[in-house]
């Protein structure tokens, strides 16, 4: 894909990206032994090898990954505008649609990489440190991590749309975090609005584990896909009309 290589290189050459990837890998590896120590000291089994990746995943999708996603989006869009490097891209023989798509695809790949890094390091931690590690648990773990890509990506596309209105990366990041926090609070306090926010589905892998494919999971999938389509279109529209 045109320009995707370019965007990806820009992203992974950043020191912050590499540091964050390493931290994501280290986090479960450090938490695993710590939990093992606590469990034998206080005598409880909250997590065994089977459920440990899922617990790490639920932490990652609520706190950690949305932040990293906001950082990536604000860098790719508002950040480039701020540093005036976006004009170099715009003079290349590329349509704005391709430019916009390549940036979003790049965000998606970055998110998938983060999920897989956390997934494998937590699986390894579970296998080494915790009792009762099974292959069915391994399969459920990997599938849950892959499923979590969808709601996070919907969130990411919403942030991309938001970033079109802001001229600097720090502002975009602040607004993204605020928006995310507001949405999280809304899901707990106003149930009528909650179902219309992508945050509502951030741990929807649990729904899939519980129900498999039924009307509810299908409905939520349809919602997420159309949510992505809607904000992709609106974001692209703003991006194509923008003067840099």
């Amino acid at each position: 894909m045109l320009n995707l290589q370019n965007e990806w290189t820009k992203l992974v050459r950043k020191k912050s990206t590499i540091v964050l990837l390493c931290l994501s890998a280290l986090f479960p590896l450090l938490v695993g032994p710590a939990i093992q120590m606590m469990q034998s000291k206080f005598g409880f089994t909250a997590f065994d090898g089977e459920s440990f990746p899922l617990v790490i995943l639920s932490l990652a999708v609520t706190f950690y990954l949305p932040l990293l996603l906001a950082l990536c989006v604000s860098d790719l869009f508002a950040g480039e505008q701020e540093q005036k490097t976006l004009s170099f891209l715009l003079v290349r023989p590329l349509s704005r649609f391709k430019l916009f798509t390549s940036k979003i695809v790049c965000t998606g790949i970055y998110l998938l990489t983060l999920l897989l890094v956390v997934c494998f390091s937590s699986l390894i931690t579970g296998a080494i440190w915790l009792e009762n590690f099974t292959f069915s648990g391994l399969a459920v773990g990997i599938l849950s991590f892959l499923l979590s890509w969808f709601p996070l990506m919907a969130m990411g596309i919403l942030l991309v749309f938001l970033a079109q209105w802001v001229g600097s990366s720090s502002k975009a990041l602040t607004f993204s975090i605020l928006l995310y926090l507001v949405m999280v609070v809304l899901t707990y306090l106003v149930p009528t609005i909650a179902a219309w926010l992508p945050v509502y589905d951030s741990n929807w892998y649990q729904r899939w584990i519980n129900n498999g494919l039924n009307v509810a999971t299908f409905g939520r999938s349809l919602y997420l896909v159309s949510f992505c389509a809607l904000f992709f279109t609106l974001g692209y529209y703003k991006f194509s009309q923008k003067e840099f």
Partner: protein, 299 residues
């Protein structure tokens, strides 16, 4: 805005609405449960038949069977409890009014009577008032409960039972049980030997209940909740008349022996708003008056 953008936005907006509405339409069992719980909270009097049993590797080690009648309004009630612990059955009868509690055990002929003090009665009443939460708070609690259980709501299966009852069932296997639940249960089971100190305090005057505590196997390793089944029955007028929980726990004890524990709790409500509390006639009976101890624990 050009037409293409409008068309895409319109179509995806419609699909989004379709997705959200179809997903939320399928939670009827959960909604029925919520209405039933709210309605059952308003009952003034009822009889409840509560049973609990605990089996260890298929052998029943503990069983409780109790018939209770309770009037919420004037805080009176009576219950007869029979406990089978390791093959020995003990029967205990309780009669309570707002200011008096009477206990009769099958172990002796005495009736143990405890009078509530005036100031304590007053504080009880005050506590009761605080329990009545405002409608706004109830709504907030409901919203939080909705959000927490959102991934479990569609899992509830509804079936039409006898007499116009609706039966609800939620069956969770190991990976579906939240980590918090796992932690609480395993913590409780693993530390049960440290709770023995409290058992001695469990007495009513000279009447002791220490031998009514179940002797659980001491689990040490690999403790996990492998399955939880919750059942409910809702009657025609939307009262929650039956609840049942079956919890399967497995783990190894100190000697490495594997244990499968099954805890079954069941409760059936009957005679809603029509139950009559029977009182006890103490004339000609051996009465032992129990004095309240004035230590800090009482407060």
């Amino acid at each position: 805005m050009n037409k293409k953008v409008l068309a895409v936005a319109g179509i995806s907006g419609l699909l989004m609405a379709g997705g959200v509405l179809s997903a939320s339409a399928s939670t009827s069992g959960y909604d029925l449960f919520k209405t039933a719980v709210k309605k059952t909270h308003t009952i003034d009097s009822f009889t409840a038949h509560t049973t609990a049993s605990l089996t260890d590797n298929g052998k029943e080690i503990y069983q409780v069977d109790s018939l209770n009648t309770l009037n919420v309004k004037d805080e009176s009630g009576n219950s007869s409890v029979s406990v089978t612990n390791g093959g020995k059955t003990t029967k205990v009868d309780y009669f309570s009014k707002a200011d008096q509690t009477v206990v009769k055990s099958s172990k002796d002929e005495n009736y143990y009577v405890k009078q509530e003090k005036e100031d304590k009665k007053e504080s009880n009443r005050r506590e009761h008032k605080d329990e009545n939460i405002s409608p706004q708070m109830q709504k907030d609690v409901e919203a939080i409960f909705d959000a927490v259980t959102k991934n479990y709501q569609d899992k509830i299966i509804t079936k039409n039972g006898a007499n116009g009852k609706t039966e609800l069932e939620l069956d969770l296997s190991k990976n579906q049980i939240p980590a918090v639940g796992q932690a609480v249960v395993s913590f409780f089971l693993k530390n049960i030997d440290q709770q023995k100190d409290h058992v001695e305090k469990e007495k009513f005057g000279s009447l002791q209940f220490a031998d009514l505590k179940p002797q659980l196997p001491q689990l040490k390793n690999n403790i996990n909740v492998s399955r939880v089944v919750l059942n409910g029955a809702v009657d025609k007028s939307e009262y929650l008349v039956g609840q049942e929980a079956t919890i399967y726990v497995s783990g190894d004890d100190v000697n490495g022996t594997h244990h499968d524990l099954v805890l079954k709790l069941a409760n059936k409500f009957d005679q809603l708003n029509q139950a009559k509390v029977s009182s006890v006639d103490l004339k000609g009976k051996k009465v032992v008056t129990v004095k309240e101890k004035h230590d800090r624990h009482e407060d």
